[in-house]
Point group: C2
Chain length 560, copies 2
């Protein structure tokens, strides 16, 4: 989110990555999730805002219990999805209150010194990286749309638009997309609603005549036109703004609730994308290995802090010459900070890396050929038996998922358990998902697939990239997470079998700290997996690292 | 379903356990599922009925494609659930046709010689078996209802009513329920809509004053009364007839779509029920072991047929002196018949049990203290290496589920994969669920829980009884299934762990054929489980079997 859109921070002071405020004449609340219950109390004026834990009391539940009969609660229909508003509206109705769309956002009229909207130039994204022309993508999605009898579909997500048009932007940190909207028509032509100043001549040449550039203000009239033609228009209630539904409906369009049609095709990477992602992981693994080698030497001195490690790792990635950005703010947690799942180091919390503690670093890079996301947990000095046991249980889950074979149609919730069984068996668990989708030089979190406890109707398909990141967190002591990215391989014949099975290719290449592995807890198959993985890491990275790192890498990837 | 309700068989000749017919002036179709595609073609007049495979073309899809604009399709609103009709109606509307509820069933007016409706006497079900009085059950469900602001709830399922009122019936084979409906009120009082001639004085004394007996024809007026009072009435769209929704709505009731409120409490067996179920399984396991011992001797002679085995097993169960009924028609499949998942032997298909083949028998019993359901696969003579491998893969899945530990909130879909992993890894799978819920001296299939690939929002809770029945089927050759019933144990502390975990208690007690186990494919933990299970089987059954069976049982349950 660009600074110009950070309205919650402006009105409340709260800067977390998710939040929602409701301001009344006589009271105000700010909803935050479990990550931010402490932070919010430090950032907001508690005389004005009452923090509410959104997992304990979700906003609809709070509205139902706290809206007064006859109250009218306004909302900015550009800032809420249709699904979100439907839930809030149902709750308001139960309370005898009313939810009212505002014509403009009241904050914007009084926000002095509001930063300007970002205007980063859009760049052409080479077909050499994308592996498919925009025309081809548009043609095949338009064909899907015609099969669903859609005349047009609104593309609400900037990631989808960048993928569809083969462009990238720079409007926000860490995710190279351009804020914009689009409408794709059943003939494969498109309208792109974007601040024109972002478009260079090169981009205009690239997009050609089949994509018409319009101002964002023209989106309303475009929906009106579809309405006047009684068009069947696909709109994604989970991602499109409530405003779009209201406008299309008012215009008389025949709205078909359907997912953003780019979501699934974008998630299934083609072979060119996968090849780029593999190369990005070799490059990134070499940088990470140089970092881990450096950490092995410098960590035990006690002279490093969490911030030092983040800087040094970013330096190594810069030295590849290919780093565009980090893919998210690194999570660098020493000792007990590693147990805070979404920890972000600040000057205030910055902690030295100390011998005798575990150190967890979750980081990633944006390269033009791929996006990475990797977590390693490192023993600084000698780990305890308990730490070795728990790390090995997490590793067993990681390996079980990495080795899984499964038939077509299998969803993430069916595989999530594999990553947890060893922990569950020991009376342990972790309170986050096992895997999220990852974009291709786009968002490090993308749908529609996921691997988690939550029911999920999206089957895993060949070419999807996910994280594999089980963990264990001992509050106040240490955190463990082992994260590699994995790609779904096409169905393969199994010797002696009858049905083709999907499986995963592990993409991330970096040593897993053997000082934390208790070999006696691994089955022969698990040990074979770990040794084969390390042999692959060594073979792939050895040509890409410096002489100083080489002996360390050889040792770090030895067979056990 | 009693013979008086077998309208599909009467009009079409098709006798499968699931089906649906649509009859037009100029055409007629009968929908069947994969089990019955061959059978239906033998049973119906193909000049009149066109069979449709309901998995390939579900009825709503067929209606959308085949109803003609303006056609009016009637249905009997007593024979379809509200959810079912909503789907059919949406499809009909898309086709420009109309779905119309008929006032009476047109078949009934022309069905000559229709069997009378069953009038089996209802019996009191002892509190010694039920473990809780009906008054207590009604009080706690009424409290749940008040929390959901329900004034009343329709109980559409006969199983739920029998459980709630602590009675059992005999209207249909194999499932001891009494066909009836009920309304439970928020004060714990109930109305029971049932043919009064089924009720003995004893039952009337048992139900007392808080349960008012009414004729089934009085259900409509009772709904009208709730409507007139503007009551909030719980109705289960998945189980209640569309008729009930229509009547309650017309009467002005405030319909709350909610599951049958007995479903979850009935599924979570109390300690008295569980103790009864355990005793039923010792009794049943002894009978089954006598059968398996007999089969070990007689099977290889080649003189037995599938029907002989079914009769002999039922005899052994009768000899316990406690058998009320079998809990379903036994599946007794020799050789290739074992590969037909829902095989029911008939005189026509009856096959000899032959040496060199596998024999699969899936059967169960109704005892007053519990319902059983067990499958064993037996090698007649010497099995092949492939059969041993595949049996062992199925066994690995069975053991993985039996040994699982999992946190509260875990659903069946999260555990289903455990039963399949060994097969998936070998390129194999089975096309049925891994586990269904099982009632307590009621239906052998009950919800709401299940263990299958299908997304499912019902967490497994302490006291739920499920089957654990992975399998493998080689068409034309043999079938393998290993089925035990399992009960969810309450959450327990794990030494060295932090979170309590649920787990399963295996209830079924009968040897698993060691001739089919390839010990080299089992992990040490799996082998330990098998040996411990067999030791438990031996200890529990030894006092309950005859001297002739004892040496066989000792050998069949030896440690490997």
């Amino acid at each position: 989110m660009p600074p110009s859109a950070q309205r919650l921070a402006w009105i409340s002071g709260f800067t977390g990555s998710w939040g929602l405020a409701a301001v009344f004449r006589d009271r105000a609340v700010v909803f935050v999730d479990g990550r931010y219950v402490l932070q919010v109390r430090e950032q907001v004026d508690l005389n004005v805002f009452t923090p509410v834990h959104a997992h304990e009391t979700p906003p609809p539940e709070w509205l139902e219990a706290n809206l007064k009969k006859g109250e009218r609660l306004g909302y900015d229909p550009w800032l809420h999805t249709e699904s979100g508003i439907e839930q809030l509206r149902a709750a308001a109705t139960k309370a005898g209150a009313e939810l009212v769309a505002c014509a403009g956002n009241p904050l914007d009229t009084v926000w002095e010194g509001r930063p300007p909207a970002p205007q980063a130039k859009v760049a052409v994204y080479d077909e050499a990286h994308a592996g498919e022309t925009s025309a081809s993508k548009r043609a095949r999605i338009a064909e899907d749309m015609r099969k669903s009898h859609l005349d047009a579909a609104v593309i609400p997500l900037p990631e989808s638009i960048c993928w569809l048009f083969n462009v990238r932007g720079g409007d926000v940190p860490h995710t190279p997309f351009a804020l914009s909207y689009a409408i794709l028509h059943g003939n494969g032509e498109a309208e792109w609603f974007i601040d024109e100043t972002k478009l260079t001549h090169e981009v205009r040449r690239h997009i050609g005549n089949a994509i018409t550039v319009r101002a964002i203000a023209d989106l309303g009239p475009a929906l009106d036109k579809l309405g006047a033609a009684k068009a069947r228009v696909g709109l994604d209630p989970a991602h499109a703004a409530a405003w779009m539904f209201a406008r299309a409906k008012a215009a008389g369009a025949n709205i078909v609730r359907a997912p953003d049609p780019c979501l699934l095709p974008k998630a299934c990477k083609n072979n060119v994308e996968l090849q780029g992602i593999r190369e990005a992981h070799v490059r990134d693994g070499a940088a990470l290995s140089r970092f881990l080698c450096w950490l092995a030497k410098e960590g035990p001195t006690g002279d490093l802090t969490e911030i030092d490690t983040v800087k040094r790792l970013e330096d190594f990635r810069h030295e590849t010459g290919a780093l565009k950005d980090v893919s998210f703010e690194s999570i660098s947690g020493a000792g007990p900070n590693g147990a805070i799942i979404h920890y972000r180091v600040s000057e205030k919390t910055n902690r030295p890396v100390r011998s005798g503690e575990l150190f967890l670093i979750d980081s990633g890079a944006q390269y033009e050929d791929g996006t990475t996301d990797v977590t390693r947990t490192i023993a600084i000095g000698t780990p305890s038996a308990e730490q070795r046991r728990n790390f090995t249980l997490v590793l067993k889950g990681h390996i079980a998922l990495a080795m899984a074979r499964f038939p077509e149609g299998t969803t993430g919730v069916q595989l999530d358990t594999l990553a947890r069984m060893a922990l569950w068996n020991a009376g342990l668990d972790y309170d986050h998902g096992t895997g999220h989708g990852v974009g291709h030089y786009l968002s490090v979190h993308e749908g529609p697939q996921s691997i988690s406890k939550r029911p999920d109707a999206t089957p895993l398909k060949a070419g999807m990239v996910c994280s594999n990141e089980p963990g264990y967190y001992k509050a106040g002591e240490y955190g463990i997470r082992i994260e590699n990215l994995i790609a779904v391989k096409p169905p393969e014949e199994i010797p002696g079998g009858e049905r083709k099975m999907l499986s995963f290719e592990t993409l991330t290449l970096a040593p897993i700290d053997l000082a934390l592995v208790e070999p006696g807890l691994l089955s022969p198959e698990e040990r074979d997996w770990l040794n084969a993985y390390h042999a692959r890491v060594r073979a792939a990275l050895d040509p890409r690292i410096d002489a100083a790192t080489r002996p360390w890498l050889t040792e770090a990837t030895r067979a056990i």
